[in-house]
C-alpha cells in the first residue's frame, strides 16, 4: 500500500504531489511541462486588458453521425456519398444547401432538421470543421495499417471521449484541456467559490485541471441546502448549520471521507456566491419548449452576463447532450436530435446578442467519434473523424475548415487514402489543432500551448492554424494583472430561520457569499496547517 497517503493531503498539497507524480508516469511529455506548471504558470501566458472571453464545449455524447449533419452535394460527390451510405443516405433535395466561401464552388447540404444552423452559417456566425478526430500525430493509411502512432482503444466510447477531452490520445489520463487552460488562466479571475470552469452536466474530464476544479449547476441554477443558513441565530436551523459546518470542517484521515467533506462543503458554500451573482439576471430571449439543451445554454448565458459579479474574465463551460450512439434508428433519431441542437444554438446565439456578448463567446461541438459511413442495416457504428461546428461572433463563419491539403471537406470519391474500413475515416484535423485555434482565441499564448495541449509543437507544430478566427479577434498578448479581492460586505443581520425559503435580497445573498468565502478560506488554511509535515498517525 502506498505510503504517500498515510497522512491526509489537502487539495493544494495534492496538486504539488500530483504534478511531481506526473513526471514519473507521463514521461513522454510531462517533465518540462510539470516544471513550468510548478514554477511559473501564471507568469507567462495570460491575456490582459479587462476583456472577457468564454469557451463553451457542447459534447454530443455517443458519437454523432456527422456525415449526415454535413453532406456533400456537388456532382459526383453526392453520388459517392449515396453509394457508401446505402440506406442511410439523405435525399439531396431534402438537404439545406450551402456554398461555403472557401471551397471553390463545391456545395454541401446541412441536415434538413437544422434550418437555424443554416441561417447562422449564412449570417457568418457559424462555421464547420470537417473530419476532426483524436490523433497522436498526423497519420497516413500506411501508418494505420502498420499499427503506428495510433490512439489507444480506437472506436471505444470511454476512451475516445477521454481523448477528445484530454488531447492525450496515447495514454489514459483524467486531466482535460479545458482544465489545463483554467490552471493557466484562472488567476485572471477574482478569487471565487464558483470556479472558472462550470459544468451544466456534472463531472467531466474536459474541465478537470491539475488545480482547477469544476463547479456544477443545473439549468435552473444552484440549489440551497435545505435547513441550513449561515445567518440563522438561536433556532433549530442555527444548530443544524453549526453542526454541519463543524462536521464538514474536520480533518478526516480516510481519503474518501476527506474528499466527500470537501466536495460537500464547496457545494454548500458556493451556492451563496452563485445565487447572489445571478439574482436579478433575466433573459428575454424565448426558450423553445421541451429543449433541455436550450435551457442549459440559457443558464450559461445568464452566468456569462453576470461575469462581472464573479470577477471572471475567463470562463469555460461544458454541457452535454446524450443519446447519439445511433447503431439503430439513425435516420429517425437524428431528425429529432439535430433539431434540438439547431434550435438550442439559435436560442443561445440570440441570448448572447441580447446580453451584448456575442463576440466574446465561442461555442464548439465535440463528440466521442464519427461513425461508419457504411450502414449496419439501420444505423452506423463507431468510427473516427467527424464534422463539427463552431459558433460565435468572433468565428470566421460561412466556411468549412479542415485539412486544407485535401480540400477541407473529404471528397467521397477519393476515400481510399483515408478509409480504414467501413468508412472509418482517418481524421484530417487533430482535436489538438481544433483546440489550438479555440485556445489561441481564448488567450493562451503560443509559449504555453504545449502545456494545455501536451507536446503540441512536437506533434503538430509544423501545421498551420485552421484559421477559424481572424487575427484581429485573437486575444492580445498577456500581461498578468493583480487579482482584485472583493470587498467583504458586512454580514447581513440575523433572521431567516429556515434555509432555502423565500426570495432573498441580492444584498443579503452577497453578505452570505462573503461569509461563505471567509469560511472556505479558513477551512483551507486549517487544512494546510493540518497537512504540514510532522509526526503522523500510525500507518494504516
Amino acid at each position: 500500500m502506498s505510503t504517500s497517503s498515510d497522512r491526509p493531503l489537502n487539495r493544494r498539497e495534492f496538486i504539488g504531489q500530483a504534478s511531481c507524480a506526473a513526471v514519473g508516469s507521463t514521461a513522454l511529455f510531462s517533465t518540462l511541462l510539470t516544471l513550468r506548471l510548478a514554477n511559473s504558470l501564471a507568469a507567462q501566458t495570460v491575456t490582459a486588458g479587462g476583456d472577457y472571453r468564454a469557451l463553451v464545449c457542447l459534447f454530443l455524447s455517443g458519437g454523432n453521425d456527422s456525415f449526415n449533419m454535413l453532406v456533400p452535394t456537388s456532382a459526383g460527390e453526392y453520388e459517392a456519398y449515396v453509394k457508401v451510405r446505402g440506406n442511410l443516405a439523405l435525399a439531396k433535395d431534402s438537404l439545406l444547401p450551402i456554398t461555403p466561401a472557401n471551397l471553390g464552388g463545391r456545395t454541401l447540404g446541412i441536415h434538413p432538421s437544422m434550418p437555424e444552423v443554416r441561417d447562422l452559417f449564412s449570417a457568418g456566425r457559424l462555421a464547420f470543421v470537417s473530419n476532426v478526430g483524436s490523433l497522436v500525430r498526423p497519420l497516413t493509411l500506411a501508418d494505420y495499417k502498420a499499427g503506428r502512432y495510433l490512439p489507444v482503444s480506437l472506436y471505444s466510447h470511454a476512451d475516445q471521449i477521454k481523448q477528445w477531452q484530454t488531447c492525450i490520445p496515447d495514454q489514459r489520463t483524467a486531466i482535460g484541456w479545458g482544465g489545463r487552460a483554467a490552471d493557466l488562466m484562472r488567476s485572471l479571475n477574482s478569487p471565487s467559490l464558483v470556479s472558472m470552469n462550470i459544468s451544466l452536466s456534472g463531472q467531466n474530464v474536459f474541465l478537470t485541471g491539475q488545480q482547477a476544479f469544476t463547479y456544477s449547476v443545473g439549468s435552473s441554477g444552484a440549489t440551497a441546502l435545505t435547513g441550513y443558513s449561515p445567518t440563522a441565530v438561536n433556532n433549530l436551523t442555527a444548530v443544524r448549520t453549526k453542526a454541519v459546518n463543524s462536521i464538514m470542517d474536520q480533518q478526516y484521515r480516510s481519503l474518501f471521507e476527506q474528499t466527500y467533506a470537501q466536495s460537500t462543503s464547496e457545494a454548500v458554500d458556493s451556492y451563496y456566491e452563485f445565487s447572489s451573482a445571478l439574482s436579478g439576471v433575466t433573459l428575454n430571449t424565448p426558450l423553445p419548449t421541451g429543449n433541455s439543451l436550450a435551457a442549459n445554454l440559457a443558464m450559461i448565458a445568464k452566468i456569462i452576463s453576470a461575469n462581472g459579479k464573479f470577477g471572471a474574465r475567463r470562463q469555460i463551460f461544458f454541457v452535454q447532450l446524450g443519446g447519439w450512439d445511433h447503431h439503430d434508428e439513425l435516420i429517425a433519431n437524428q431528425q429529432t436530435m439535430l433539431a434540438t441542437v439547431s434550435q438550442a444554438l439559435s436560442t443561445f446565439s440570440s441570448a448572447l446578442t441580447e446580453i451584448g456578448m456575442a463576440d466574446k463567446v465561442t461555442l464548439f461541438t465535440a463528440s466521442d467519434f464519427g461513425r461508419t459511413l457504411t450502414s449496419n442495416g439501420n444505423g452506423s457504428d463507431h468510427a473516427w473523424g467527424a464534422n463539427h461546428l463552431v459558433m460565435g461572433g468572433a468565428v470566421g463563419g460561412g466556411k468549412v475548415y479542415g485539412d486544407r491539403d485535401n480540400g477541407y471537406y473529404p471528397d467521397m470519391q477519393k476515400l481510399s487514402l483515408i478509409d480504414t474500413g467501413q468508412g472509418r475515416l482517418i481524421p484530417g484535423v487533430a482535436v489538438d489543432e481544433y483546440a489550438r485555434d479555440l485556445l489561441t482565441w481564448f488567450g493562451v499564448g503560443a509559449g504555453d500551448l504545449d502545456y494545455v495541449l501536451p507536446a503540441f509543437s512536437t506533434r503538430f507544430g509544423g501545421r498551420p492554424s485552421l484559421g477559424l478566427f481572424s487575427a484581429s479577434s485573437v486575444a492580445p498578448a498577456p500581461t498578468p494583472v493583480p487579482t482584485p479581492t472583493p470587498a467583504p460586505s458586512p454580514p447581513a443581520s440575523s433572521g431567516g430561520g429556515g434555509g432555502g425559503g423565500g426570495a432573498a435580497s441580492p444584498l443579503f445573498l452577497a453578505g452570505l457569499s462573503a461569509l461563505a468565502l471567509l469560511r472556505l478560506r479558513r477551512r483551507r488554511l486549517a487544512q494546510q496547517k493540518a497537512a504540514t509535515p510532522g509526526p503522523g498517525p500510525a500507518a494504516g
Binding site: F14, G227, I247, L255, A261, G377, T483, R522
Partner: protein, 561 residues
C-alpha cells in the same frame, strides 16, 4: 512549493487562525452487533434491527447467513406490475410502475442478498429506462431486472447468455434484428453488442493478470484484448435475433430491419429467438488465448450454436474472472481492492473448488467473506472503502428506521424527491451503458493523487452534493413521496443524547462513527431547546430527527468502510 491558492487569494494569510490539527478517523473497536451491521450494509439494501438480530442468532456466522439467503425464494418485480394490470388496477404498465415494482423487491424483498447482488449486476450489465424502447416496453425492464435476480447465484455463463438473449438488452444495444451482411443494400452487421459485451460485460479493453492488473506488451503499454476486426467477427455471430424462430413464415420486406418474420405479438420478456435466414453463417474467428476451446466457429452453424460458442469464448477468457471480480468488489465492498483480494476472488471465479468456472454463489461468498471485507483493520485504512451510492444512502435510511409507505397500489413511490435528477442515479436509469460512473474514475483531490479510484465520486458534484442531502432531509423531517421514517424508537432515547447517537451509530455507521463526529452530534442535540421545536413535532422527535440527519450527512456515513 509555493501554495497556488495562497498566491491567488493574496490576503488570505491575514485570516490565518490557529487550528489544532486533528485527524478524525473511524472507531474500529466494534461489537459483534456492529460488525453484523457493517456486513449487512455491504450485503443488503441496509441493515435493520431485525437483520442484526438474525445474525446474532446465527452466532454471527456470515457464511451461514449467506447460505440462508441463497435458499430463500427470489422476489420478482415484473409479476407485481403484471398483477396490477391483470386485476384491472392499472391499464398500462408504465415506466413509473416498473420503478415502483423494482423498489419494492429491492427494499422490502426478504431475499436481500440476492436483490443486492442483482442491483450490483444491473450496474455492470447496464440497460436504461432513459430510452423509449425500454421505458415504453411494458414490464420489459422489470423482466430484465428479474433475470438478473434469477441468475445472481448461478453460473456466470448462464447470466451472460441470458443477458445476451434478453429482448431489452437486444433493444438497448441494438442486436435485436441485427442482420447478416447484405451485398445488395451494402449493409453489414451491427457492431454495438459485439463491442460492449467484450468491453463491459466480460473481458475489458486490456488483458488482465490474475490480480486484475494490466499485462503490458513489449512497448510497455497494456495489451488490448481485441481488435476491431475481432469485433466484426463477433458482430457476425450476434446476427439473426428476433421474436420468431425458424418455423415462422411471412418475411417482411423493405429497408431498415424488416427482413425478419412479422412480429405476432410484441415480446419484451421472453428470450429473443434466432431466425437463421438473417444469421451470418460464414466462418468466424474469435479470440485466441491459452486453452481456448471456441476460437474458430465453422461455417453453417446455427445461430443458436454460434451465440453459445461466442459466449463460451468470452466466459473462458482469462481476463473475465479478474474483470468481473473487481467490479463486484467495487459495488459491494471497496473501490480499490488489493491485488490479493482480486486474486482470491478471481481464483474462485476460475474454480469454485469443484472444478466449476464462474459459480457466482462462490464468487459472492469470496467477495463478502474475504478478510479485506471483514477484518476490522481495514476500517482505519485511509484508502479502504467506498462512497455509499446515493440510492443506497436512501435505502439504508429507510431500512434502518422502519420506513412506512402509504397504502395503495404499488406504493413504493419516491415522487420527485428521489430521482435520477436529485441523486444522480436511479436503478436501471443510467445515462449510458457505461453506468452512472466509470470503474476507473479518479476524483480530483487526495484519492486521485494517491493513484486510486472512487467511481461513485463521479456523481458527487455541486449539484448532487446538495440535492442528495436535501432528499435525505425531506425523508427524515417529512417524507419522500410515499415513504416516511418511524423515528419513535430514537425519540424515546432522546433524553440522553449519547444513547441516541449510539443507537443511530449502530444502524447507520455500524459502530464506526468517529468520536469527534459523535461529540459534535451530541452537542448539537443537547443545544436543542423547546423553543426550537417546529409545529407538530416534539422536543424528543426534533432531537431524533436532527441526530439522524447529522449522522446521515456526515462523512462517517457517506463512506462505507
Amino acid at each position: 512549493m509555493v501554495n497556488p491558492f495562497i498566491r491567488s487569494v493574496g490576503m488570505a494569510a491575514a485570516l490565518a487562525v490557529v487550528v489544532t490539527a486533528q485527524t478524525v478517523q473511524p472507531d474500529n473497536v466494534l461489537s459483534q452487533d456492529e460488525q453484523a451491521s457493517r456486513f449487512l450494509a455491504q450485503a443488503t439494501f441496509g441493515p435493520t434491527t431485525e437483520g442484526i438480530a438474525e445474525l446474532r442468532t446465527l452466532g454471527y456466522n456470515y457464511g451461514a447467513w449467506i447460505d440462508r439467503e441463497i435458499a430463500k425464494p427470489a422476489s420478482y418485480a415484473a409479476p407485481l406490475a403484471v398483477d396490477a394490470k391483470t386485476s384491472g388496477q392499472i391499464t398500462t404498465i408504465t415506466n413509473t410502475y416498473n420503478r415502483r415494482a423494482r423498489n419494492q423487491v429491492m427494499i422490502a424483498g426478504s431475499d436481500q442478498l440476492r436483490q443486492r447482488v442483482a442491483y450490483a449486476l444491473s450496474q455492470i450489465f447496464v440497460i436504461s429506462d432513459n430510452i423509449s424502447a425500454i421505458s415504453g416496453a411494458a414490464e420489459g425492464s422489470s423482466s430484465y431486472y428479474d433475470m438478473l435476480v434469477r441468475d445472481s447465484f448461478g453460473p456466470f455463463r448462464q447470466l451472460l447468455l441470458d443477458v445476451t438473449y434478453h429482448p431489452m438488452m437486444g433493444r438497448y444495444l441494438s442486436h435485436y434484428h441485427n442482420r447478416k451482411a447484405n451485398s445488395t443494400s451494402g449493409t453489414r452487421p451491427d457492431e454495438n453488442y459485439a463491442r460492449e459485451v467484450m468491453q463491459l460485460f466480460s473481458i475489458g479493453l486490456y488483458q488482465l493478470d490474475g490480480a486484475g492488473n494490466y499485462i503490458n506488451g513489449a512497448s510497455g503499454r497494456p495489451l488490448e484484448t481485441y481488435t476491431n476486426d475481432q469485433i466484426t467477427e463477433f458482430a457476425r455471430a450476434f446476427t439473426g435475433f428476433t421474436d420468431e424462430d425458424n418455423n415462422a413464415s411471412a418475411v417482411g420486406t423493405g429497408s431498415g430491419r424488416t427482413d425478419f418474420p412479422s412480429v405476432k405479438a410484441q415480446n419484451y420478456t421472453q428470450p429473443m429467438k434466432m431466425w437463421d435466414l438473417q444469421h451470418d453463417t460464414a466462418v468466424k474467428t474469435l479470440l485466441d488465448y491459452p486453452g481456448v476451446r471456441k476460437r474458430n466457429l465453422p461455417a453453417f452453424q446455427s445461430g443458436v450454436q454460434d451465440v453459445s460458442d461466442a459466449i463460451d469464448n468470452l466466459v473462458e477468457h482469462p481476463s473475465t474472472g479478474p474483470f468481473i471480480s473487481r467490479l463486484l468488489i467495487q459495488r459491494l465492498v471497496t473501490s480499490n481492492p488489493s491485488d490479493g483480494y482480486i486474486t482470491r476472488v478471481a481464483a474462485t471465479f476460475a474454480n469454485n473448488g469443484k472444478g466449476q468456472r464462474g459459480d457466482l454463489t462462490a464468487v459472492i461468498k469470496a467477495v463478502l467473506l474475504d478478510p479485506e471485507a471483514r477484518s476490522l483493520s481495514f476500517v482505519v485504512d485511509p484508502q479502504h472503502g467506498k462512497l455509499r451510492e446515493p440510492f443506497l444512502r436512501v435505502t439504508h435510511l429507510l431500512r434502518a428506521f422502519r420506513y412506512a409507505v402509504t397504502s395503495g397500489l404499488l406504493p413504493y413511490e419516491f415522487s420527485s424527491t428521489v430521482t435520477e435528477n436529485t441523486l444522480g442515479q436511479y436503478p436501471l436509469s443510467s445515462p449510458s451503458v457505461f453506468n452512472f460512473y466509470l470503474a476507473d474514475y479518479e476524483p480530483q483531490g487526495p484519492i486521485g493523487a494517491a493513484g486510486l479510484v472512487g467511481p461513485e465520486f463521479q456523481i458527487l458534484n455541486s449539484v448532487f452534493g446538495i440535492t442528495t442531502p436535501n432528499a435525505v432531509y425531506n425523508l427524515i423531517n417529512t417524507s419522500a413521496g410515499n415513504f416516511s421514517l418511524d423515528l419513535a424508537p430514537q425519540a424515546a432515547l432522546a433524553d440522553n443524547a449519547a444513547t441516541l447517537v449510539d443507537n443511530i451509530d449502530l444502524l447507520l455507521t455500524h459502530g464506526m462513527l468517529s468520536s469527534a463526529t459523535r461529540t459534535l452530534v451530541i452537542n448539537a442535540v443537547n443545544s436543542v431547546t423547546t423553543g426550537m421545536v417546529p409545529t407538530g413535532s416534539t422536543l424528543a422527535l426534533t432531537k431524533a430527527r436532527l441526530a439522524v440527519y447529522l449522522v446521515a450527512m456526515s462523512p462517517d456515513f457517506a463512506v462505507l468502510k
